[in-house]
Symmetry: C2
Subunit: 604 residues, 2 copies
């Protein structure tokens, strides 16, 4: 039976077979309702408001996560509710992918611009009888190009038209020993490349001028894979559990990149045909999915992927709609969950060079990767921080988009800083760190992470703050704003995330026979890392106690690294060296990992 | 109007639109009637016998080339006769592509076998926690493979299935720094490659065992392009005159190669999936057409092609149905008409090495290419010998197939050696040389090439021979066998071919400041070259007077060279060096070329 589905307030309509999950039907109307749990009915983030009798009765998952009143009001979990008739669904802002605050760039290293792709204008004279060279050889000689320059096969059939033997100006597009294309006239001023960051959550495309190294613009979009689950584990499971899961995720990654690329090119008025190279970074799972390689082996011990090498291939093979001869270079990964994004962040932070200092970089996302440099030694590890810092599994959690509380300060009462200067509607990662640290500093949560009852609180806690402690069905919560509260369970999630990262930092230091005090520089990368309050992060124990000036933010290090690899063949090679030389510390293989982790759960 | 066309004796039927040339209609019935002139109605080789009233009346071309009696008997030129009703056409053996005598191999150089593609069986152990490498790195370490070995992109999605982490035997297929494939189990004994010779007339595919270097078998087929004209000039014209000419010729070349490859693989019971590399040689026009590059620029001064470089590309891009990751390597060309086939022949004749001797190689086909080696110097040139040696433009000319007179000796009367020990039905190249030389030696033709009237002949000429001088409509002819005669015009063709080659040899010697007597070795390559009588060739002046032991035959040098390049990376590289170092002598640019050519027309 076909049932009519209407999306509100957009008023988009379509039909779906009876039995289809509402979320799936909405996806076909181009509305991707959030589902960090991957549509398993456990996160409760995919709520929609429905009208009409067209849904089956709520099942156990909905009854567990929605109150009787909510169900009466027509609130349903769209991943669980199944269609049985006509239905109108209003998707609230909180259930929609938020326009996120993206870190497009970050700090830049000073580098010599020597991109793999460059252009050279050549003046061609007609050939004489004394120059019986093939036209391509005539071109090489005329332009003084390297003798081993070879035309890519796609170019060969076009040569007769491009090199017609008359006097002409022509521009050679060269990539190392490959002649990628010939453009009539002198087009050497327009030479573009793309730096791509295929993130688990967000996809960014930055358009780079390969002559100047300048970033001309960027565009970002949600990784459409997110509808299959918030973190890499959920997506790995999709590839295992669904016959077409891998294809679906690959297609979603490609479509997301395509969207970001199309946007930035349109905005900067660059024709896709003018782009001859892209570099791409992403974590190991993302790169596997993008290349159509099952990431299943990353899901179990010993957590290895199939390939960690840099990949250099025709962009067209990955459905990138650039010049037909364009290439894509995917940076190498190190091991398991330490992927190309980490290599790129390490490049962005100059970890390819030994400057005599002891340095750590932490790229904090749903997964946290760490690199430690000491002299010639590079140590890496990774740890699943969980999605708490990205707003998932937090009662009022949300991405760092408009309406998110990004900073919290307690000063007798609560002061919140909200992204976009609007009414607070949720809590993002940096706000979560602040809230936890401030509650800890004010004695409202104890060292074990327990939210104290108002009567347990000392006199130094103001009445205003005490009044914010409100019991909920699932325990005590602390109200931050009218519709935003921090629950006891949220604090447990924060503890897990913090313990996970801190244990990794400590074990890495131990492996390098160093103490926290030896650290000369602690680099924070990633969207979340860039906005957290240093002091609060240290207060929580997320990062070791260090003089604040030793802590440095580099923004989206992965994207910066992709840009560096696009602009410098030397740095591209250095990335390969980082990947080859790094020693990987497998936390799961460290004997006292569990003890250390348990210890790190405490706020001490 | 659709008309029924029946091919006899095969009884194959089809239909054709009124106005279609009969030859074209027959081609759709998979019968390629010979047409060395390219279907222009000038060679008269495409004769068929027709029944039924379904053809338009003969036009001027048919009336010129066919006698009134022939026309009455239903003999027609199939390239000219246009269909207007039902027609039955019997295609006689002489108008069908003959099964040719092909030179599959030729002399072999002693070389070290070091093919670009090799196999290595590897025993894989399960990975432990202490080996957190990507599975491909685990493979490299287990097999002690080069660290920079990269999987081709086609292989990446297959890795999870092939490297499943369990203990296993697996075979890596390696080509330089590329991992082309992984085969379960130990398949290292079966490692195959193809050496391909894309000749203007004939296509040969030789199957080579890359472990032993042994040629396991070969298959040859007519180059299906031949229906568009016998020589490269006719085919270049097709690409200029017909909108889809290039595509048609490219498709014909690919289909011909496919046919030869399919045959040899089936015969030797090798699966196409087991072939990972092919090397290909051909003249510049053939390689251009095969790659889909218009060869138009080869048709006019300064006679240059578009590209002379070696081409290394995925075989699948050229529709070769081998392993999906298989590569094809096309040997480099030198300049203009001196193509990859010449480079290959030079490799076959060891011209990449200086052995202190002065050597010339002549690869005689419709086009004749020459290479001279003196110390470190390599001089090359080419000359259009014309198709006489391949039987075209010769009244009773035919390919060197069954029924062809391949040798002629005059000893009071005529003694002919016929291929296939059957009734003579035509004259092939070597027979033409013999006939010319013997008639010259016996004083039946004079120095200017004129066939003398019986009454002009001296007494030393027997009556039997004199009786063989028979006048024809187009002049005098000499009867070699019941249905085979040599005409005055044939002798003129022979003179043109001979003059063309000899002038090139002489000018090349001059350029190197050498005399004919300085030649230490004269190498003859090509199907024709291999069967000619040394003494007769010298008597005609086709090659300079030399002690016979200085003349060496190497057979199909082009194919041998393709095989050498398949089996030895060193020789492949030497081929590139030959191409790069050779100095090209453009005959058309030599001031006294015309004078020398006119002089060389004489049999002196």
């Amino acid at each position: 039976m076909n049932c009519q589905v209407t999306l509100l307030p957009e008023k988009r309509q379509g039909s779906a077979l009876a039995g289809t999950a509402l979320r799936e039907a909405l996806a076909r109307l181009d509305m991707e309702v959030l589902a960090p749990c991957g549509g398993e009915g456990t996160c409760g983030k995919c709520r929609v408001q429905v009208d009409g009798p067209g849904l089956e009765s709520p099942g156990p998952a909905e009854r567990a996560l929605l109150s009787a009143e909510q169900l009466r009001e027509g609130i349903r979990l769209s991943c669980q509710a199944r269609i049985c008739g006509s239905v109108q669904a209003t998707v609230p802002a909180a259930s929609r992918p938020a326009p996120m605050r993206i870190l497009p760039g970050g700090v830049d290293r000073k580098i010599r611009i020597e991109p793999a792709v460059c252009k050279q204008a050549i003046h061609l004279q007609p050939q004489t009888l004394c120059e019986p060279y093939a036209r391509l050889e005539h071109l090489r000689r005329s332009g003084n190009l390297r003798a081993d320059l070879r035309a890519v096969t796609e170019l060969l059939p076009q040569l007769p038209q491009l090199l017609d033997g008359t006097e002409a100006e022509i521009t050679a597009v060269i990539r190392e020993d490959q002649l990628l294309a010939l453009e009539p006239g002198n087009t050497s001023e327009r030479c573009f490349g793309l730096a791509l960051d295929l993130g688990t959550t967000t996809v960014v495309a930055a358009l780079i001028d390969l002559n100047t190294g300048r970033q001309l613009g960027y565009a970002s979009t949600v990784n459409q894979q997110a509808s299959e689950g918030h973190d890499v584990i959920a997506r790995i499971n999709t590839t295992i559990e669904e016959a077409d899961g891998l294809q679906k995720l690959q297609a979603a990654a490609r479509a997301s990149l395509d969207r970001a690329i199309t946007q930035v090119l349109a905005r900067e008025q660059v024709d896709p045909q003018e782009v001859y190279e892209a570099t791409l970074v992403g974590n190991t799972t993302m790169v596997h999915l993008y290349l159509g390689i099952s990431p299943a082996s990353l899901g179990h011990l010993p957590y290895v992927g199939m390939v960690a090498d840099a990949v250099d291939m025709p962009a067209s093979q990955l459905d990138l709609h650039l010049h037909p001869s364009a290439r894509i270079y995917i940076l190498p990964a190190i091991a398991g969950f330490v992927g190309a994004d980490t290599v790129a962040a390490a490049l962005a932070a100059s970890f390819d060079e030994d400057d005599g200092r002891i340095r750590i970089i932490a790229d904090i996302g749903t997964n946290c990767e760490l690199v430690l440099r000491r002299d010639e030694r590079l140590l890496v590890t990774s740890t699943p921080a969980g999605p708490a810092f990205e707003g998932a599994r937090i009662a009022c959690g949300m991405y760092a988009g408009p309406g998110a509380i990004e900073a919290v300060h307690l000063d007798g009462d609560v002061h919140c800083k909200v992204i976009g200067r609007q009414e607070p509607r949720g809590l993002c990662g940096s706000g979560l760190v602040d809230a936890g640290a401030e509650l800890l500093a004010n004695g409202i949560i104890d060292e074990t992470g327990r939210l104290l009852e108002p009567e347990e609180l000392g006199e130094q806690v103001s009445e205003a703050l005490k009044r914010r402690l409100v019991p909920r069905e699932d325990g005590l919560s602390f109200v931050l704003a009218e519709s935003v509260a921090l629950t006891q369970r949220d604090i447990r999630e924060l503890q897990l995330a913090k313990a996970s990262i801190r244990t990794a930092v400590d074990l890495l230091l131990e492996k390098a026979e160093l103490a926290a005090a030896d650290i000369d520089e602690f680099v924070l990368a990633g969207g979340f890392g860039n906005y957290i309050d240093k002091a609060n992060a240290m207060r929580l124990g997320l990062i070791p106690e260090l003089p604040p000036k030793k802590i440095r933010f580099i923004g989206n290090g992965a994207l910066v690294g992709a840009r560096l690899a696009l602009l410098s063949r030397t740095l591209r090679q250095r990335g390969v060296q980082i990947a080859q030389r790094a020693e990987h510390l497998q936390l799961a293989g460290t004997p006292d990992f569990q003890d250390r982790f348990t210890e790190a759960l405490l706020f001490t």
